[in-house]
């Protein structure tokens, strides 16, 4: 049994190697559980993680950790491993984690939690929800798309039919309709019907192939501007737009300014509907640090810049100044309440 002896020697060596590595303790640990799609999805999860990174950059005593969920079954397990990891606050990213976060929060009343995209009713004492009026930002994007479309057809599709996704699609649809009302045009929206709550969904937040295929279908139906609301799935659509040329197909990004997060395809993004999860996550971490944290809700709106529209990027000179001014006016209208996002 010589191999056993050799194995023991090896294990000994390995242990000696490891003895030198000791974890450094830090003053404040912020932990994050991502949704499926991954931490580097150029959108949803990445933006939320940027919030933790910003907090780390601003304050050396903050340490950030994250766990990626590969499937919905990972949520609870991931939360459990973080509960043991001595986190001062656990931020869960995504509506689908609502149940798992609630269960973990109730089982661990002393642990602070915050969840992106979920509002509990009634509120839970140790959970702070972060929600966004994304329909406001998407309304502007819809108005812009209607103004820029040459075919008179624009499209959208989502990842899964859940409120944080469909809020974008609602806003987009109503924005296009508002443009039609104002201008007497007849731009149509493919992929979503806010009344029946039915539309195009890939059923996942990670298949780039689906992003490409769905965009291809919409394009064949005449859409020349598409807003994919499905995290990294949209990167597949951007790939297609890059190959077809932006005179055929333009993409509207979501969550982050995708000209920044997807720099290789920056040219295809007409704009992005910003959902400033980074700013609310940083805000929540600061609240947990200074003791002002309490259960409840933070809502990001156009007014407090929790949502918004990214710069026009490569299309800065293509978008007419007139349209830009109109969008600013619509934005002001939404903020002062003279324009309502909806039917």
């Amino acid at each position: 049994m010589t191999f056993l002896n050799k194995m023991t020697t090896r294990t000994g060596l390995a242990a000696a190697l490891l003895a030198g590595t000791v974890m450094t303790a830090s003053a404040f640990t912020a932990c994050q559980v991502t949704d499926t799609g991954g931490i580097d999805d150029a959108g949803f999860n990445q933006t939320a993680w940027k919030g933790v990174q910003d907090a780390m950059a601003a304050d050396d005593s903050v340490e950030g950790r994250f766990l990626e969920s590969q499937a919905e079954t990972d949520y609870e397990a991931n939360l459990n491993s973080l509960i043991e990891g001595g986190c001062d606050i656990i931020v869960t990213v995504g509506f689908l984690m609502g149940d798992a976060t609630k269960a973990a929060a109730e089982a661990n009343p002393d642990q602070k939690f915050s969840i992106v995209d979920f509002a509990y009713d009634p509120t839970i004492d140790n959970v702070l929800g972060q929600v966004y009026a994304t329909e406001q930002g998407a309304f502007l994007a819809g108005y812009l798309a209607a103004g820029m479309s040459e075919t008179g057809v624009v499209g959208t599709f989502g990842g899964i039919n859940i409120p944080p996704v469909t809020a974008f699609m609602d806003g987009f649809y109503y924005g296009v309709n508002y443009y039609n009302e104002q201008k007497g045009t007849d731009v149509s929206v493919l992929g979503w019907n806010p009344e029946s709550k039915e539309g195009l969904f890939t059923g996942n937040f990670d298949s780039l192939d689906d992003g490409r295929a769905f965009a291809e279908n919409l394009s064949q139906e005449g859409a020349d501007i598409i807003m994919p609301v499905a995290g990294p799935v949209g990167l597949g659509s951007a790939q297609l737009a890059d190959e077809m040329g932006t005179d055929q197909l333009k993409i509207i990004g979501v969550d982050a300014d995708q000209t920044q997060t997807d720099p290789e395809k920056a040219d295809v993004y007409l704009t992005s509907v910003l959902k400033r999860m980074d700013s609310t996550v940083t805000q929540v971490i600061n609240m947990a640090q200074d003791g002002s944290f309490e259960g409840g809700l933070i809502v990001g709106t156009l007014e407090n810049e929790g949502v918004g529209l990214a710069p026009y990027g490569a299309f800065e000179d293509t978008v007419p100044d007139e349209l830009k001014a109109e969008i600013e006016a619509v934005k002001a209208g939404i903020i002062d309440g003279s324009i309502t996002v909806g039917m």
Binding site: F3, M7, E68, T73, E76, A77, N80
Partner: protein, 384 residues
């Protein structure tokens, strides 16, 4: 004398040879234990090399392996997570291993698991009101039954038309994904007030109770572990002690010999697929009643495919599958800790699992890497 009943003698001869191959002697120790053991070690070493190649520094690699160990077996909660993850892997792996023994390469555990799991959820909320002592077993049994029926489709197609089970089970997997998406939207199953595909909750009386929550509410290990152990014992008995298990193994080793010996090939195929499907369905049922509490799209999370690896690593032997399943559960639980403590991507665990399979599938490669781990060929057993 041989000219009187030559064919029967021939069959007997064949059957004896068959028996010798299906009952493992000491010679098989190396193949059964040492090769998998080394495969794991080599895969871990390769994992470290891959980390080095992707510019992870040595202390981080060290820390990630410590995290892997601590997160999988280093504490009570680590054990709880490891075993929780291993329950569906072992159950589905047992079914697949049983199929392999019967010569059926069943790729369909994923679909059988989804169908069985969904059936268990539906049984759970429609039969609510029953006392748990009836409700829970009925829920699990319905899950197993639906898994069995779903797998039997592939068995039936093979027995009647000769359609290869690899193709038909892959197709059935794809059908199950979409069927699940569609079923989860039906008002009868969909949770009230939600527009996304998600089922109603399994009521507490159909849930597998958590067995360690009196120590800490976060310990997720549930009574499914007893289901798993019972299934290991049952499959062991079935394969090696029962008549039907002998028929499974005989058909797997030599279908024509089994046929000549009077075993009904079609019946054996359908039954073996059905049993495999029942175990996969049971895996889905324990997952929804013990861990998830509901069904959502893709709740199988690839368990049905990982279980193929578990069955191969366990050499289609119930005890081997038990250990292989626990190992894969440990990799999953430890991999999570690896990500938390060292920030190493969870994808690395997938790579290590794949490497283990490669080395298992290529025993000669392992022998070449570790010549000192094996006795020289030709020496007698028992010399070590």
């Amino acid at each position: 004398m041989s000219d009187k009943r030559p064919d029967l003698k021939d069959v007997n001869e064949r059957m004896r040879g068959l028996m010798a191959r299906t009952t493992h002697g000491r010679d098989d120790f190396e193949d059964l234990v040492i090769v998998p053991l080394f495969a794991v070690v080599v895969a871990l070493v390769f994992g470290a090399l891959i980390m080095l190649a992707t510019a992870v520094d040595l202390p981080t690699i060290g820390r990630s392996f410590v995290a892997l160990a601590v997160g999988s077996v280093g504490s009570l909660s680590a054990w709880s997570e490891t075993l929780t993850a291993s329950i569906p892997l072992v159950l589905a792996g047992l079914g697949l291993g049983l199929g392999f023994r019967a010569g059926l390469f069943n790729i369909g555990a994923e679909g059988q698991l989804l169908m069985g799991g969904l059936a268990a959820v539906v049984a759970g909320f429609t039969l609510s009101g029953l006392p748990w002592i009836i409700h829970l077993p009925v829920t699990l049994l319905i899950g197993a039954l639906v898994g069995a029926l779903y797998a039997a489709i592939a068995g039936f197609l093979k027995a009647t038309t000769g359609a290869h089970e690899v193709i038909s089970t892959i197709m059935l997997n794809l059908i199950s994904y979409r069927l699940l998406d569609w079923l989860l939207r039906q008002p009868f199953i969909q949770r009230e007030g939600r527009s996304d595909p998600i089922s109603k909750d399994v009521p507490p009386s159909a849930e597998l109770p958590r067995i360690l929550d009196f120590i800490d509410v976060n310990l997720r290990l549930h009574a499914g572990i007893f289901v798993m152990l019972a299934a290991v014992a049952l499959v062991y008995w079935m394969l090696f002690r029962s008549k039907i298990g002998f028929a499974f193994r005989a058909s797997g080793e030599n279908p024509s010999a089994a046929n000549y010996a009077g075993m009904n090939a079609a019946f054996v195929i359908v039954l073996a697929m059905g049993t495999a499907g029942a175990l996969a369905g049971l895996a889905g049922a324990t997952q929804v009643t013990g861990v998830l509490g509901r069904a959502s799209p893709g709740f199988s999370a690839g368990i049905g495919f990982d279980a193929i690896a578990v069955a191969l690593l366990g050499r289609s032997h119930p005890i081997g599958i038990l250990f292989a399943g626990i190992l894969f559960g440990a990799l999953e639980a430890g991999g999570r800790q690896m990500q938390v403590d060292a920030g190493v991507s969870i994808d690395l665990i997938g790579i290590i699992q794949a490497l283990i399979i490669i080395f298992i599938a290529a025993p000669l490669l392992v022998r070449a890497i570790f010549p000192w781990g094996f006795r020289k060929r030709g020496k007698k057993a028992g010399e070590a």
